[in-house]
Amino acid sequence: MANDTNLIHPLWVRLTHWINALAIVILATSGWRIYDASPFFALEIPREITLGGWLGGAIQWHFAAMWLLVGNGLVYLAGNVISVRLWHKFFPLSPRAFFADMLAALKGSLSHADLSHYNMVQRAAYLFVMVDSVLLVLSGLVLWKSVQFPILRELLGGYEAARREHFLAMAALVAFAGIHLLMVALVPRTLLAMIRGR
């Protein structure tokens, strides 16, 4: 782990971030094509923004990128725990400070002077996306291997429930990504920081 005090994001954070971004793009767009094969909401994803061309192609992309997401995710989580970055960056969490920061963000008065410090809204959002990704992996595991993981299947309410949970967890992740990108557009220095590290 880097000791450079000017460093906002160490290299391993930047690498896992971009690998994760790639995995999420592939998984979401191929997942939309798989969903379209048998939609369970009054919603069909426009074919133009899906990946894979046909169901079999989408499944190939999806079940290849899942290894990228899981492998990279484990490296990220392990790195966070080992470097104790998880506790330093994302905790403590305070609901009161969360609402104060949220209000400040909406007023456009939230400080971004120190990018290495996460405000409460960031902490909550990043922790949420970690938990949401775990839910995506677990519900995906039930969809892929519902017979082989009976305890997990029953915990999630069965195969059909897991389909919906997987979809809703995806929707939450995409919503996060949308807001995340908007925030980056508002404070472009954060993009540089995630590329150069400072």
Binding site: L22, V25, I26, T29, I34, Y35, A37, S38, F40, R47, I49, L51, G52, G53, W54, L55, G56, G57, A58, I59, Q60, W61, F63, A64, W67, L143, W144, K145, S146, V147, Q148, P150, R153, Y159, E160, R163
Partner: protein, 262 residues
């Protein structure tokens, strides 16, 4: 759209045409599924990420197939031969149970019961062809299990017939062989791994809902495996063969995962 010549079209023009018809019927916009890489690689975001649009399509295709083969290995490793798929009460049976095939309902094959014989070949001791009466005379089992389609939907049905492990032992199949292959009256074909073939819930199915299997569900016989996705469950089976040579399958040869287990 200009498309490179497709190997699949050359081999299997008829079947792909049938597919295309089915897909158009579903209001899908692409006529063949082999076009998937052209489409996928023209997707804006991914082209940017890959740096250019000159990515060798066949190398991407090969890489994805390699991962799919790897996923076969992982699934074989995860597969527990003693773990049973959940069973359900009568009241949860999906009625009507959905019809699904690579063709439409108007093309369902009618197989004649009198002249029907099940061929059994390959690594088996007894290669005699079976009549339906002989199969019905064997000990029967029933199950109410969930059928999961690769498309995502699932439905609960009731199937009855001969436990496939009993049948394989009866014909003296080499149980150390790698694959059991199936050829069907509707020109469908597929193959499974031996551990799944021997799974206690794998059933050489002769009945649906306690009635002789109707043509729409695969008369005279289908292989029912609640541990595998729908496309691994062949209908209208005419020939069964035991082999160590990878037999592939109708969908598998086009890119569906071979193991297809759940």
């Amino acid at each position: 759209m200009i498309r490179k010549p497709s190997r699949q079209l050359a081999i299997d023009g008829d079947l792909v045409l049938k597919d295309a018809t089915k897909e158009i019927a579903r209001r899908l916009d692409q006529p063949t599924r082999r076009a998937f890489l052209q489409r996928s690689l023209s997707l804006g975001g991914l082209s940017l990420l890959s740096g250019c649009s000159l990515v060798d399509e066949s190398s991407v295709e090969n890489a994805l197939m390699t991962v799919s083969r790897f996923n076969d290995t992982v699934q074989a490793w995860l597969f527990d031969p003693n773990r049973l798929a959940p069973t359900y009460p009568d009241s949860m049976i999906t009625r009507p149970f959905p019809f699904n095939a690579y063709y439409g309902e108007d093309e369902i094959r009618e197989v004649d019961e009198e002249s029907y014989r099940l061929e059994v070949t390959g690594m088996v001791a007894d290669k005699h062809a079976w009549t339906l009466a002989e199969l019905r005379a064997m000990p029967q089992a029933e199950q109410i299990t969930r059928h999961i389609c690769v498309e995502g939907w699932s439905a609960i049905g009731q199937w009855g017939g001969v436990p496939f492990a009993d049948f394989l032992r009866r014909v003296g199949a080499d149980l150390s062989a790698k694959y059991v292959g199936f050829k069907c009256a509707d020109d469908y074909y597929t193959s499974i791994d031996m551990p799944t073939a021997l799974h206690p819930q794998t059933l050489l199915t002769l009945t649906y809902d306690s009635q002789p299997l109707p043509p729409r569900y695969g008369f005279p016989m289908k292989l029912r495996m609640p541990t595998k996705l729908g496309y691994k469950n062949p209908k209208h089976i005419q020939a069964i063969f035991v082999t160590n040579t990878y037999p592939g399958g109708y969908w598998e040869d086009q890119g569906y995962n071979w193991f297809g287990g759940s």
